[in-house]
Amino acid sequence: MGLLNLLSRSDQPALMTLPTGSFVLDREGNTMTSTLPRSFPAQYTKDIGTRVLQAFQKAREAHLPLTELTIHYGAFKVLARELRGGAMIFLMPVSTPPTQAVKSN
């Protein structure tokens, strides 16, 4: 019975793992190069890129031009470098379990 359960669950979709890698966008938001795994959905890459380009664009409009932007989440980091209207974007999962974070101090 346990074996059957194991087999019946083996084909279910796995949780989406966040990738480590980078991609480069031109000023129109087209991906020029990418080191992200193919398993990472292209729509997410595009979404991240669009938000980053908008952030740089709107910063310029607010008279606060930026060349670099890092977004820190609890478990993920997005680092973007502005490249003549486009951007180079690095994605980095941050896996520090709370217990380890506590012990480190």
């Binding site: 019975m1 279910q12 949780l15 966040l18 709107k58 607010a62 930026l66 977004i71 478990a75 993920f76």
Partner: protein, 358 residues
């Protein structure tokens, strides 16, 4: 009236649901009512229709995965206890679940002993009422918690977090022996930590080698804190009376500017564009709009990727660095000198958030 806690258990494995429905409903002292759902969408529908004390979710489910369910549940039902109960051992998922605000992350038990630990932990979570204040012992203030620890002659380490700020209080055999937050240590740190109005705390194993920096009795410390709080309240009342009803006094930002390397400060409401305070900013309105748009956009991305809300944004150009973070319903955008290193910006922001929260 039925006051038994209610647990919603979500898993796509029916055998698991059957087993744990029975385990939780029959073996926990609080005798909770347990409902089950075999999919994320069914779970959300149940949450809409009746209140639950706790949600236990498997992560690996088809269509709507557990992280998505947890993310929605945390946003819509902030008081509900969230437990991830999964076979996923990848640390990335543990980190993401905690970033989404789960109370506990459990690997599905594989032995009797582990089942016992899980049940004990769930019972402990259920015993905590959800009435605000410090999560861990809700409805108690931090003063109450310290009094409890000292009266019971405990030896423990209290770790308290308040937004980005973190503090630690060492209790040894019922006496407070040291405290630390940011650059503050000893009594100064203790008083700073006790000025925080809410947050999370956890009890960590004691640290027997911690040197004693505080020699005042805990009663004395708490009295000093109460006195300082009363004085601050009365001063704030006087200042508030002389100011327009909206916003904090401008001097509050000026005081934050004393942080090393700070060039400008801007505070704006997360949802209220009218709320705007600034110090040494030439064009505050467009920067405030950009700050709000940026945080809204990347918080939405965090939700989509199931990694929780943005903790901190750091940006820069040749002329300056800047950092943005949220404290309650306020967004703080802080400019730093271009020579400030990443650590200085991060530490400076921690200090500013801690002062702002106090």
């Amino acid at each position: 009236m039925n006051t038994a806690p209610k647990i919603l258990l979500v898993d796509d494995d029916q055998a698991f649901l059957d087993l744990y429905e029975e385990l939780l409903s029959r073996h926990l002292p609080s005798m909770p009512t347990v409902r089950v759902a075999s999919s994320g969408s069914r779970a959300l529908a149940l949450l809409e229709s009746e209140p639950f004390t706790m949600l236990c979710v498997d992560l690996n489910m088809p269509r709507m995965d557990g992280l998505q369910v947890l993310s929605i549940a945390r946003r819509k039902y902030p008081q509900m206890r969230l437990v991830a109960l999964t076979a996923e051992r990848d640390e990335q998922f543990r980190a993401r679940a905690y970033a989404l605000g789960v109370d506990q992350y459990w690997i599905k038990p594989e032995s009797d002993a582990e089942v016992g630990q899980l049940l004990e932990s769930i019972e402990s979570l259920l015993q905590r009422e959800s009435q605000g204040g410090f999560r861990g012992v809700q409805s108690k203030s931090l003063v109450d918690i310290i009094q409890l620890e000292c009266l019971s002659q405990s030896t423990t380490l209290l770790r308290i977090t308040n937004g980005h700020a973190e503090g630690r209080i060492w209790v040894h055999q019922g006496e407070v022996i040291d405290a630390e937050t940011g650059e503050l240590v000893g009594e100064a740190a203790f008083h700073r930590i006790l000025s925080w109005k809410a947050g999370n705390f956890e009890l960590l194993p004691s640290d027997p080698d911690r040197p004693r920096r505080i020699h005042t009795s805990y009663q004395g410390l708490l009295l000093d804190t109460a006195q300082a709080f009363d004085e601050a309240t009365s001063q704030h009342g006087e200042v508030a009376a002389s100011l327009p009803p909206t916003g904090q006094p401008a001097s509050s930002l000026a005081a934050l500017s004393e942080t090393e390397g700070v060039e400008f400060l801007l505070a704006t409401g997360t949802a209220d564009p009218q709320r705007l305070e600034h110090w040494s900013v030439e064009n505050p309105a467009p920067i405030a709009t950009w700050t709000r748009d940026l945080m809204r956009s990347f918080n939405a991305l965090g939700e989509k990727l199931r990694v929780g809300p943005v903790n901190l944004v750091v940006g820069g150009n040749l002329r300056r660095k800047l950092a943005i973070a949220q404290s309650g319903d306020t967004l703080l955008c802080v400019g730093f000198r271009s020579t400030a290193g990443a650590d200085q910006v991060r530490d400076g922001m921690k200090e500013i958030l801690s002062k702002w929260a106090s």
